[in-house]
Amino acid sequence: MTGAHQTLSLLLFSGFVAVTLGITTWVSRRRRGSAEEFYAGGRLFSPMENGFAVTGDYVSAASFLGVTGLIALYGYDGLLYAVGFLVAWLVVLFLVAELVRNVGRFTLADVVAARMSERPVRIAAGTSSVTVSLLYLVAQMVGAGSLVALLLGRTSGAAQVWTVIGVGALMVIYVTLGGMRATTWIQIVKAVLLLSGTVALTVLVMVRFHGDVDRLLITAAQRSGHGEAFLAPGLKYGGSWTARLDFISLGVALVLGTAGLPHILSRFYTVPTARAARRSAVWSIGLIGGFYLMAIVLGFGAAAVVGPEAVRRSNEAGNTAVPLLALDLGGGAGSTGGTVLFAVVAAVAFATILAVVAGITLASSASVAHDLYASLRRSRGDGPGEVAVARFAAAGIGLAAIALGLLARDLNVAFLVGLAFAVAASANLPVLLYSLFWRAFTTRGAVWAVYGGLVPALGLVLLSPVVSGSPGSFFPDVDFQYFPLQNPGLVSIPLGFLAGWLGTVTSDEAADEAKYAETEVRSLTGAGAV
């Protein structure tokens, strides 16, 4: 890429960073220090603001770069991600958003701990939340790395490393200084930027094809070299039965995972009531659905305009399809239009990554401080305050994410996010649903549900072709691959539910009826909600 691209992209991106840092410092001038403020931003965001913020938190680099890239490379099979990412919101809206808002205070563990013996449950749910967040963070870091590699024209080396480090450092600054209030505003700014960028590109694609979707699809199919097959399922996940099972596993993980993502759940605590939580979920479904419909157009557009060959040459996993599409739509490399559009898209993608990373870091620092530290502290006497610990935790998580992000550079972002969703669906969703809806659920059941989903999910990923035994894996030279599927969801999600049930029926203690009554009444009416 030429120098003009780089300069303009860097300028735009610096603008975003400056604005968001400004927001952060401006917001943190005022009230500081209370947990309510740091984790939940004061709980007075409006449903529309929170709807945009949820969109900003949810639509990550995995969607903007990853899903579009997969559609550009594999056609219809990439579309499953878009469908799964959206349908998952029905689970959130129907079963989780309002009830979690009513019962919990800051984290997922709050909901479970409300009716269980607090310490073991908090430690379990805190551990799994941090794990999910870390996996999700790695995906975002990989996205940042591959984006900068494209931007600076180098596929490896110092630039990529420094980008990952820079993104990590910035997000730590956001979170430690601004807490939830600043993070929310960053999400809102990012969501507006991302949606405007996507609308602009979609319009340009449609103009290029004179508004004829049919021609767009036919051109994409022709250029892909697969013909009609490009528009039907099976290119990536067809063929062998393991590949097909992998597809189903991924589909199940996507639809059930969202409701277990800690950074999404914590967003619902930033509004005053369950009703506002519901309305923010409705807002976000509208915005997210609109975004994915456009992402599908962009994916096929990239296949039709840029062509899968060029996309693959730039990034093996397809993560750079949209920036390349923007370059072409603007008039090609070297033209002013191309330079500007490319720079805008690159800056938007950076902003996307940065915002999502900030959101996840905040949620996981809340898990560390509010769940893990608060539970472990009681046995050792008092230390520093919870919010101070949360700030330190944010820094620690930032470091871990940077290190892991550097390790996982060559994997598709959407695929990595699929793993995070599988772990969230296995470890967090069963315990959450059982706590809210199952009268007889006990503490042992809760602990078993978390570990019974978390351990198999992580174990199966370790034994899968992602980690070893295949050319694209972390350790291509060794082979300890015993599990055929890349996504563990199909096995580990049922195991999580099963473990929760098993732990409950083998429990010595009976479930506390009064505590369940409290959870049920509070969840549906909002009585006693903070």
Binding site: L93, A232, E513, L524
Partner: protein, 151 residues
């Protein structure tokens, strides 16, 4: 109508805090019971509310909508994913121009998601919100009474 605006139900008054201007005038006698001001323990209040007819009604309205809804969209989604893997030939059948069955099914998923979101929000607003809010204030009144009595 105080219920139309989210800022009217923001008074998240906690335990023992005086319920401010947001307290609705209407009450549901079934949940209130005869225990106001007496020294019953806070945890018993929730059991009592849970057993009240008003709460049972709210809960069954919620469940009657959510259970078939979740079953429906999960079944439709799983059918879609399984069809994409097990019956690619069916999915590849052209319908009009470049649009095939798979494309229509994918767009159908988007459409049903939007429709169900709208239906859920409407159902909750019309059938659940008012009763839930009344229960909330009643429960908190009871809890306040119980706490006051225990002191």
């Amino acid at each position: 109508m105080r219920y139309e605006d989210p800022w009217y139900d923001v008074q998240a008054s906690g335990w023992g805090e005086p319920a401010g201007a947001g307290t609705p005038a209407r009450t549901v006698p079934a949940a209130r019971g005869e225990h106001e001001g007496t020294g019953i323990r806070a945890r018993d209040i929730y059991v009592e509310v849970q057993r009240s007819a008003a709460f049972q009604e709210v809960r069954s309205r919620y469940r009657r909508f959510v259970v078939p809804g979740v079953a429906g969209f999960l079944a439709w989604y799983v059918a879609y994913v399984v069809a994409a893997t097990a019956a690619p030939r069916l999915m590849a059948r052209p319908v009009a121009g470049a649009v095939n069955v798979a494309m229509l099914a994918g767009l159908g998923q988007f459409l049903t998601t939007f429709l169900l979101t709208w239906a859920y929000a409407r159902h909750a607003r019309l059938r659940r919100d008012r009763a839930a809010l009344e229960l909330r204030w009643d429960t908190q009144e009871l809890a306040r009474g119980a706490q006051g009595g225990a002191l």
